[in-house]
Structure formats: structure tokens, C-alpha cells
Amino acid sequence: MTSEDLAVYRGILEAGRAGRLCALATVVATRGSTPRKNGAKMLVDPAEGLVGTVGGGCGEAQVINAAKEALETGLPRMIRVDLTDDPLSWSGAICGGVLEVFVEPVFPFGQ
């Protein structure tokens, strides 16, 4: 297991044991130039912060917002992160690709 996956799964385990609700984002498909590829994960643990990354500044804020939403609604959903803005806009979303990210709530064990 990669060290990043290891950290994310351990994070899920610890949050579960402590009874905390978290959100998990997984990159399930990419197109074009993207900072991370398939399988990249980020755990959003309200008490511990972020574990892992789905690509830093480029689009990560959008994923974090979707994660917060998943924590509130308790519902999973797929989001599309578009990083194809104009390269001269300095928007941070200029990598040139598109990420499909599955964002879901992670309930403590047994819930």
C-alpha cells in the first residue's frame, strides 16, 4: 500500500474509533494534465484536518467544499473539477485537465 493510502486508511480507522464523522474524496478518473491521477485520496477530518491530497491548490478548495457538504447532508456524490482555465488568469486552476472526484461521508464504525 502506498504511504498516502496507508495514512488515509489509518485516518479513517482512527476517526472511526473516536466516533468522528469524516469525508473522503477519491479521484476516480482524470482527463488531460492533472496534478494527481486515479486513486489519489484526501480525508477531511474535522478534528484533524486533511490527510492526503487530490492536487493541492488546483481545485482542492472545490473538493474541500464538496466534502463539507457531504458532512452536512450525509450523502455521497461525484463532482467534476475543471482545471482548464486560461493559463494567464493566474486562477490556480490552469493545469489543463479535468478530475472526476467521488466525495462521500465516512461514518464511524457501526453507523
Binding site: M1, T2, S3, E4, D5, L6, Y9, R10, I12, L13, A15, G16, L24, T26, V28, A29, N38, G39, P76, R77, M78, F102, E104, V106, F107, P108, F109
Partner: protein, 277 residues
């Protein structure tokens, strides 16, 4: 979620235990389903068995076949989205994830290069083990990031050390004859480590291959040996050499051309045309 599926928090301990136990494992995660309540459900495949179920025999059978192929190293089934047709109408879209036992870095020889090598290995998330035959070298003070420190006899350096395809072996002992002896011993083992690198000069590297061929080691085995070790970045100091070796190991996982990205992307040509600025 149907009771057959594992939730992420049910999956985590099972998956961690499987890979820590040296098994490969495949996980399907449902990302699209005619019944939205099933989203995020997982099924784990490991050691020929499934934990969890799609509760649809057609989808489950398809997933079982794909998981077996992925686990056996069939490169036509890669991690990514997979379509699993349901018995009636409709289909499931599931993300297939493949996990290996945790990769490790085994450094033989606890000298100058071993120290930065250990730091970089730990930074890359490898479980680092350092072996030496001299007292006072493979010590916790010198290798604070190492997971394991072994005192060994170079006549049989890997006695009591398990090597597997996720082991990366770096031979950097104090003397070429020890490196050679360790290399010869490791090539006789099965399974082989996924990476075998040996520090060497160009001349010594040629002499090593000649000697191994004379000993009757198969040419396919020799192709697994990286010597001289590392990528050509002009490394000279121990730290620079460790960076060059670490880069070679990352390249082994990720592929890539080993050329400057500016060159492979043709940025200058695209900006200025073939003639350059």
C-alpha cells in the same frame, strides 16, 4: 447502503490487515448505481475470497473475475472505473482499487550513502531496513528514520530477512567484494526484490556482469540488476547519489522518460519554433 456492502470504516481495518500480512487486495467502490442508496458501498477481494457482496449475482461475478485478474498482475485490468452489469436492466459503475503489501527499502551497508538514502526512503514512504556487519554502524543514532536495523554476516546477509517483489535492495557496503557477494546471494533467491541496485564504477559494473555470467546466472536475472546504481544527474556527494538512486526507484514505479520535463514537453520549441530563441 445494502447490508452486503462494506462501508469505508468497515473496510479500513480489513484492508490494512490484508496488506500488512503480505497480501495483494482489490477493492471495488460503487460510484454510480440505479439505486443511489448504494453509492460508496465497497467489496474487498483478497486471498481468493470476497468480503462484502454486491447482492446481485451478475455484478458480483463480474467483479470477482476482474479482481482476480488485477490481483494476479494482469495489466489489462488496471485501477480505474469498471462497469458491472446488473442481472436485470442497468449497471453499476465502480472504482477498482488495487493494493500491494507496503513497499520497503533494504539498504545493505550502513555507511555514508546509506544515511541520506534512509532519509529519502522514509520520505518516499518506504519501510526502511538497514543491514551491516560492523558493530556501531547500523545504529538508531545514525539511522533515526529506519524501521529496522539488522546486524548481519555478509557471507549470508539475507538470513532472517524476507525479500519480496515490493522490496527495493540497495547494495552500498564498504567494499565491492561484499556488494558482489550480496548480489550473487540475492540473485539465487526467489522471489526476487523488485529493484536491485549496486553501487559501482562503470568498469566494475562490467566486471560484475562478466563474473555473474561465468557463475551461470541467467541473463534475464542480470537484466534486473541496476549497476552502476541511480540516474545520471552528475551526482557526487553521498546525498546527491542518494537522490539519484531515489529517482531511479520512483521511475521504476511511475515510468517517465528521465529527461527534463521542459524537454519532453517541448516548451521551448513550441514557444520559439525549432530554431530556438
Amino acid at each position: 447502503m445494502n447490508p452486503g456492502f462494506l462501508s469505508p470504516s468497515q473496510l479500513a481495518p480489513l484492508l490494512l490487515a490484508a496488506t500488512e500480512g503480505g497480501d495483494r487486495a482489490a477493492v471495488f467502490m460503487v460510484v454510480s448505481h440505479p439505486d443511489p442508496k448504494q453509492l460508496g458501498g465497497r467489496v474487498l477481494f483478497c486471498g481468493g475470497e470476497a468480503t462484502g457482496s454486491f447482492q446481485d449475482s451478475r455484478a458480483h461475478a463480474r467483479a470477482t473475475t476482474l479482481a482476480k485478474r488485477a490481483i494476479s498482475g494482469d495489466l489489462s485490468v488496471l485501477p480505474g472505473l469498471q462497469t458491472l452489469p446488473l442481472e436485470g436492466a442497468g449497471e453499476i459503475l465502480a472504482y477498482l482499487e488495487l493494493h500491494h503489501p507496503s513497499p520497503e527499502l533494504v539498504i545493505v551497508g550502513a555507511g555514508h550513502i546509506a544515511q541520506p538514502m534512509c532519509t529519502l526512503g522514509a520520505l518516499l514512504g518506504l519501510r526502511v531496513r538497514v543491514l551491516d556487519d560492523r558493530p556501531g554502524f547500523a545504529t538508531r543514532e545514525r539511522f533515526p528514520e529506519a524501521h529496522d536495523l539488522h546486524s548481519v554476516d555478509f557471507s549470508d546477509p539475507f538470513a532472517g530477512v524476507t525479500l519480496h517483489p515490493w522490496s527495493h535492495l540497495v547494495l552500498v557496503t564498504r567494499g565491492h567484494r561484499y556488494d558482489y557477494e550480496c548480489l550473487r546471494k540475492v540473485l539465487m533467491r526467489s522471489p526476487l526484490p523488485g529493484y536491485i541496485g549496486m553501487i559501482s564504477s562503470r568498469r566494475r559494473a562490467r566486471a560484475t556482469f562478466d563474473a555473474l555470467r561465468q557463475e551461470g546466472i541467467e541473463p534475464e536475472l542480470l537484466l534486473k540488476v541496476h549497476t552502476p546504481i541511480g540516474l545520471d544527474i552528475g551526482a557526487q556527494t553521498p546525498a546527491e547519489i542518494a537522490v539519484s538512486v531515489a529517482a531511479e526507484i520512483v521511475h521504476l514505479w511511475r515510468g517517465g522518460s528521465c529527461r527534463p520535463l521542459q524537454e519532453t514537453e517541448g516548451v521551448l520549441e513550441r514557444t520559439f519554433g525549432q530554431e530556438g530563441p
